[in-house]
Amino acid sequence: MKSALIYIAFSLSAIFLMAASERPPKGSIVIRNGNLLTITNGLLEATDLWIEDGVIKKIGKELKVPSGISSIDATGKYVMPGIIDAHSHIALETVNEASSPITSEVWMGDVVDPFDISIYRALAGGVTVSHAMHGSANAIGGQNITLKHRYGNKEPSGLFMNEAPRTIKFALGENPTRVHGRGKNIQPKSRMGVEAVIRNGFEEAKQYTKRWEEYEKNKGKEVPPSYNLRLETLRDVLDGKIIIHCHSYRADEIYMLIQVCKEYGIDKIVFSHVNEGFKVAPELAKYSMGASVFSDWWAYKFEVYYSTAYNAAILTRNGVLTSVNSDSGEVIRHLYHEAGKSQKYGDLSDEEALSLITINPAIQLGIDQWVGSLEEGKHGDIAIFDRHPLSIYAIPEMTFIEGVKYFDRHEDETDQRLKVDPREKVEAVYLYQETHNCMRDVDFFFTNFGRNLFEHKH
């Protein structure tokens, strides 16, 4: 009887807890006397930043705040907006639904893993937002989810950035042609096929839209057309309700998709990786929402052989909105350093370099009205560094999301796992692993006698 009561009490409190967790936690705090890298308003030296209930309430000198708000002394330290990764696969249980060249019906929100230790490691690199993307196996992949790194929250939905608009993954070149053409002997096997698959998808969606519009017009007189989530999603892409983030490398394929999008009236498209984007920079500047690039990855496969680490600088100088992404559970930990490489390769200014990992990816994800810079009214997502974040010696010390602290180097405990596998007697040791990448879950097409023949992952 007693245990039943305890059980009921426990269940009730669990329900209350669940209800409470629906609203993401928000905090209030004042950061005193830091050097604020605002991104949109220059560097404000020795300035206070006050976050009230998750939102930046005020930026200024010697701010007067109500008593009871805790404060942090950031004298001599650098405060920047939380870093945003526009291309990531952390916190996902699976990455590719490689079963068809078009899989616009699937959504990464269904496979978010809030327990992934990579989230904590990203926070320790000052990263507060990541764009958790479908992989690059399909010409038109699944829909992505934009996450806030609220580590410790055990509900997948607790990590969703609910304000973020919908986005979808497209992929061109070697990956879709390898998986489908060479792996399964179906289109696309070449870059011609990739274009055809995308065009066929758009045309089918247009026919689908027409069928529904006719049905709506003659309501009651006809049998409704069958509902198709795949085409429903593509219809929203054509209507500009979803931003395309397209995995791409070579200039020819980038140019192709620009032409296709122009023809279908689509302007919400960001090109990702886009190693040869520098060759079609004027076109990208005019017809796209920009490019999200690697700082310096190249030569891991043929389509990235003619790359240059000066890509970000050439794109920026040509007026292309440019971001630097990780596509990796390792690189996401030091995006501030990756952004710094744009100063070695092309002399970008501090502000331009920092924009690559803050306001620019925010614009590309459609979330710049909430995050990406230190401005009154924006979310209190910040990272505090012991010195200027573009220095190699900079160490991220604290990371906040909406005023709540999720990382503090000085209070850091070694083991940050949220759960431990009970079947595991001795913890496994992994060597130089790369767990999160574009081609996860398609490796089985390319294994042979237990040996992984598939090193090119991005």
Partner: protein, 436 residues
């Protein structure tokens, strides 16, 4: 007379009009080559590594070597390079990379770091180094002047070799150090895709170690016969392994997890050979034991994930510093990604920030690897008589804001260009711009 005065003026005008064309004129297919000769680096801040820094000091390069270091050195016939306000550093040495052994990682046709067979110590990576690999010029303009080219696969994959990043034949590039690589049987997982059970992993590692022991016994027998003056059949594998026993060449052992490092230390305890550890990702867990055994370490990549989920997020960043503090001699390597060997200074920079300190991290990519390879009389610091492997920069080479302005390798002044730079020059302002 009047005409005579006008005529040159007209010519001058024509010349002036043509100047923009002449100035930008390019000879089709023009190539910038490395230059050899005497160079006087004047008035730089010399970061010597072997000794304290020298401000406003000259350095003379002659016959491929650092001929002299001092104030107000005579210019003689040397080409003078003004280094006022700049820094001169010894060239960085990557203590383990595939640079030169692979062109495009995914294309098997271009992979030359992996041979068939489990016991192939006779495989010479120096043979497979492509002096014209596109990644070599991409790497050296960042101040990396040498790298240890390492083979992969099996138990004894081959013989690693140090190369300098300029030259047209393997002999011109060879840096004077070779080591035979051994992969110590690993009880770690290869990655998330590795679904082997704990027991399988354990028994597989045991099986492999038994194999190594059997091979080792054979090598000892072979070496015994040879050193007793006996004649042997052609047996290239044993011929190479016997060189380890004769202490003519060190054994570089790739070993990473703490448990494996401990087993490996036991394995080498009764062997009278020269040993270098490579990898050593969990070295910090057993740093005292490595120091006690006096085994030097080539570790990296530093920009990599912790080996265990329960580890601190910065475990690998901090690894070189922790090993150093325990008394281990540490050199840093980038490993595997041939194309981004250029990031060696950044691997060192992270090690510096997370506990190793700037000075020691610089040593770990210059003098320490030179010492480990027994080449500290030739490379690794700015000292008279050493090879002119060095670079000039406008700041700390670990910082991404820093520009490296000159690189010298074996006395050759290296062209500061490569495909990445040429693409930048071609496409920064593309013509035609945009088709309306």
């Amino acid at each position: 007379m009047g005409e005579m005065r006008i005529l040159p003026k007209i010519w001058l005008l024509i010349l002036l009009a043509l100047l923009p064309i002449l100035g930008s004129a390019q000879i089709d297919g023009e190539v910038i080559k490395a230059e050899y000769g005497s160079f006087l680096l004047k008035g730089g801040n010399l970061v010597r590594v072997s000794d304290s820094n020298l401000e406003d000091t000259d350095l003379l390069i002659k016959n491929g070597k650092i001929e002299a270091i001092g104030k107000g050195l005579p210019e003689e016939n040397a080409r003078v390079i003004d280094c006022t306000g700049k820094y001169v550093y010894p060239g960085m040495i990557d203590a383990g990379s595939r640079l030169g052994l692979v062109e495009i990682s995914s294309l098997e046709e271009t992979q030359d770091f992996l041979e068939l067979g489990e016991v192939t110590p006779n495989m010479q990576v120096i043979t497979a180094v492509n002096p014209n690999a596109v990644a070599i010029p991409v790497t050296r303009v960042s101040g990396v002047t040498s790298s240890l080219a390492i083979p992969q696969g099996g138990l004894f994959p081959g013989t690693a070799a140090l190369i300098h990043l300029h030259g047209y034949t393997p002999d011109q590039m060879f840096g004077g150090f070779k080591g035979i690589l051994m992969n110590f049987p690993s009880t770690a997982k290869r990655g998330n895709y590795d679904k082997r059970s704990e027991n399988t992993i354990k028994s597989e590692a045991k099986e492999q170690l038994d194999k190594i022991d059997a091979i080792w016994k054979k090598a000892e027998t072979y070496h015994g016969i040879k050193s007793a003056g006996g004649s042997t059949d052609y047996y290239p594998e044993m011929e190479h392994l016997s060189k380890i026993l004769a202490k003519e060449i060190p054994l570089i052992i790739e070993v990473n997890s703490a448990k494996d490092i401990k087993s490996c230390l036991e394995w080498i305890a009764d062997k009278d050979i020269k040993v270098i550890f490579s990898g050593v990702a969990e070295g910090w867990r057993v740093a005292d034991k490595i120091a006690e055994a006096k085994v030097p370490v080539l570790t990296g990549p530093i920009l990599s994930l912790p080996t265990r989920e329960s580890d601190a997020y910065d475990a690998v960043y901090a690894n070189p510093g922790k090993m150093l503090k325990a008394g281990v001699k540490v050199a840093i390597r980038t490993n595997q990604q041939a194309e981004n060997t250029r990031n060696l200074p950044y691997h060192a920079g992270f090690a510096a920030a997370y506990g190793m300190g700037r000075e020691e991290a610089l040593r770990a990519v210059t003098l320490s690897p030179a010492e480990i390879f027994g080449l500290d009389n030739l490379i690794g610091s700015l000292d008279e008589g050493k090879l002119a492997n060095l670079f000039v920069s406008d700041g700390d080479p670990f910082e991404t804001q820093t520009n490296i302005t000159h690189v010298f390798i074996q006395g050759y002044k290296i062209p500061m260009t490569n495909r990445h730079i040429r693409l930048y020059q071609e496409f920064l302002e593309r013509k035609p711009e945009l088709l309306e």
